[in-house]
C-alpha cells in the first residue's frame, strides 16, 4: 500500500507558484483585512446576540443541571407505567377528548365553508374584500386554541363546551385559508364547460367546482381533526376536561407512573387516528 499511502503528503506548492497564483487573483490568496474584519465582527456580533437571548430566557448551565436532575427523577418514577385502577376513567377521558375534537372540527368546517368561499379570488372578485379576509385568516391562524379556551371556559363554565368553541374558532381561519386555496387552485375548465353549455352559475358550482374541491376539502378537514385531537388534549389543562385534565392532575401530584400510562395510551390513540385518517385522505385524494 506504499503508493496509496504516499499521497498523504502532497507536494508542497513552490513559492514561485504562489506568486503566480497571486498574480492571477490576489484577493483570493490573501484575504483583505477589511473582509477579515467584517467576518470577525459578524461572527462575534451574532454569537453575542445569541448568548444574550439565551440568558434572557434563563438558559444557564446551572438551571439546566438542576432541571435535568429532577427530570431524571421523574423519568425513573415513570417505570413501570401504571394506571392505578383508573383504566376505565382514562379511556373515557380519551373518548371525551376525541368527541371534543370531532365536534370542534365539525363546527369549524361549518364556519370555514362560507368564509373560505369568500376568501377565494376566483369566487369573490372584489380585491379589497379578498385581501381583508385572507389577511385576517393569516392573523387569527396564529392564535393557539388555548388562548381562546381560557376565556371561553370562564364564559361558559368548566366543561367541554367552551373547549369545543375554542377549537372551532381556531379551525375557522386555518380551514378557511386551506379551503380558499383549494378553490383557487381548482381547475376552471369544468366550470367553463358547464357555463358554455348554457348552465347557470349555480349549476357550474354544483357540477364543475364541487366535484373538484370537495375531496380536497374533506381531506383538509380530516387533517384538522388530527391536529384538533392534539389541541383538545391540552384544553383539559384550563378546565375543558378530557385527557388533559387527567394528565394535569397526575403531574401536579407527581404520580409519574400514571402520567406515563396516560401518555402511552394517548400516543397510541393519536397514532391510530393519524393512521386511519391518512388512509381515508389518500383514498379521497387519489380516488
Amino acid at each position: 500500500m506504499t503508493r496509496v499511502a504516499s499521497l498523504t503528503v502532497p507536494p508542497l506548492i513552490a513559492a514561485q507558484e504562489m506568486e503566480a497564483a497571486r498574480q492571477i487573483a490576489p484577493h483570493l490568496i490573501d484575504t483583505p483585512f477589511a473582509v477579515q474584519l467584517r467576518r470577525f465582527v459578524l461572527w462575534v456580533g451574532l454569537s453575542a446576540l445569541f448568548i444574550a437571548l439565551c440568558i434572557g430566557v434563563d438558559m444557564t448551565p446551572a438551571a439546566f443541571a438542576r432541571g435535568l436532575t429532577k427530570l431524571a427523577d421523574f423519568m425513573r418514577g415513570m417505570f413501570p407505567p401504571n394506571a392505578a385502577g383508573g383504566e376505565v376513567r382514562i379511556l373515557q377521558a380519551l373518548a371525551a377528548t376525541f368527541a371534543m375534537a370531532v365536534t370542534g372540527t365539525f363546527l369549524g368546517v361549518l364556519g370555514a365553508l362560507p368564509l373560505g368561499l369568500l376568501g377565494a379570488k376566483t369566487f369573490v372578485a372584489n380585491p379589497v374584500l379578498h385581501f381583508l379576509i385572507r389577511r385576517s385568516f393569516d392573523v387569527f391562524r396564529a392564535i393557539p386554541a388555548l388562548v381562546w379556551a381560557l376565556i371561553l371556559i370562564v364564559a361558559f363554565g368548566l366543561g367541554p363546551f367552551g373547549g369545543v368553541i375554542a377549537l372551532a374558532l381556531t379551525d375557522i381561519p386555518r380551514l378557511g385559508k386551506l379551503y380558499a386555496e383549494a378553490i383557487e387552485n381548482s381547475d376552471p375548465r369544468p366550470q367553463e364547460g358547464i357555463r358554455a353549455t348554457g348552465g347557470q352559475r349555480r349549476a357550474a358550482i354544483r357540477f364543475g367546482l364541487l366535484p373538484e374541491v370537495l375531496p380536497v376539502m374533506a381531506s383538509q378537514s380530516l387533517y384538522m381533526l388530527e391536529s384538533n385531537f392534539r389541541n383538545a388534549a391540552i384544553l383539559g389543562i384550563v378546565g375543558a376536561g378530557g385527557i388533559g385534565f387527567e394528565l394535569e392532575e397526575r403531574i401536579r401530584i407527581f404520580a409519574f407512573d400514571q402520567v406515563a400510562w396516560i401518555v402511552i395510551a394517548y400516543v397510541l390513540c393519536v397514532m391510530a387516528l393519524d393512521y386511519v385518517s391518512e388512509k381515508i385522505r389518500s383514498k379521497l385524494v387519489h380516488g
Binding site: 500500500m1 506504499t2 503508493r3 496509496v4 499511502a5 499521497l7 498523504t8 502532497p10 507536494p11 508542497l12 506548492i13 507558484e17 504562489m18 503566480a20 497564483a21 497571486r22 492571477i24 487573483a25 483570493l28 490568496i29 490573501d30
Partner: protein, 263 residues
Amino acid sequence: MLELKSVTKRFGQTKAVQDVSLQIPAGSMVGIIGRSGAGKSTLLRLINRLCDNHEGTISWHGQPVSELRGKALSQWRATCGMVFQQFNLSPRLDVLTNVLIGSLARQRGVAPMLKLFPAEERARAILELHALGMSHTALQRCSTLSGGQQQRVAIARTLMQLPEIILADEPIASLDPANAQTVMETLSTINRERNITVLVNLHALDIARRFCPRIIGMADGQIVFDGTPDDLNASVVDAIYGRHVIEGSGPQAEAQNLLEAVA
C-alpha cells in the same frame, strides 16, 4: 500499472461487468467504447470504488484496492479522479469552492467544513482554473456556467486531487461538438504533460479513434476488443455495437454512421 483480474459485478440477476481482465500501463490514454448498458460506467465506478465488485481483483502498482476501507479507501479515491457526464458540481457553490472540494481527502479538522482552506490549496485551485482558462469565474456560482465551462471546472476539481489516474465517464456526452473537442484535448494534454493515466468512456467512435492510442470495446459486460484504432475494422464494430441494430433508423442510423466512420 492498473490491473483488473476476472472482475465481475452483478446487479440482481444481470451481470453488468463479466469476468473482465485488463492491464493498463501507467501513463497511457485508453478509450472505452460500447453501447449504453455495455458496462462501461460500471467498470469505471468499480475502479474508483464507488461500487464494489463481486469477484476478481483490481490493483494499482501491485496493490489491491478492492478491500480498502476508511482512510485508505478515501486516499485511493483521491488517487483516481472521476469526471462525470453531468459534471456533478454543487450548483449553488462558487467555482473556487467546487475546485477546492478536490483537495478534501488531504484536509484535516473542521476548518474545511467552514470553507476555510489553506492558502496553498487556494493557490493551486486558482492555477488549475487558470490553466483551463476559467480563473475569471472563480467567485461565480457553478449554476451560472455553461455546460462546457462546468466540465472544465470539474476537470480542475479532479486535478486538485493530484490524481495518478483520471476516470472520465462519458465526459462529452452532454456537450456540444466545440466544447467536446476542447474537453477531449484537455484530457489528452493532461495525459501527455502530467503523465496521468486516463481512462475515458466514449459513445462516439470517431472521437475515440482521434484521441486514444488504445481502444477497448465492451459489449454485454465483456471486453470484445482491445487494440489500436487501426485494428478497428467493420466486423469488430459489429461485435461492439451489434449487427442487429444496423438496419432501420434512430439508434440504428447512428450505428450506420459509426460504420462509415470506420470505413
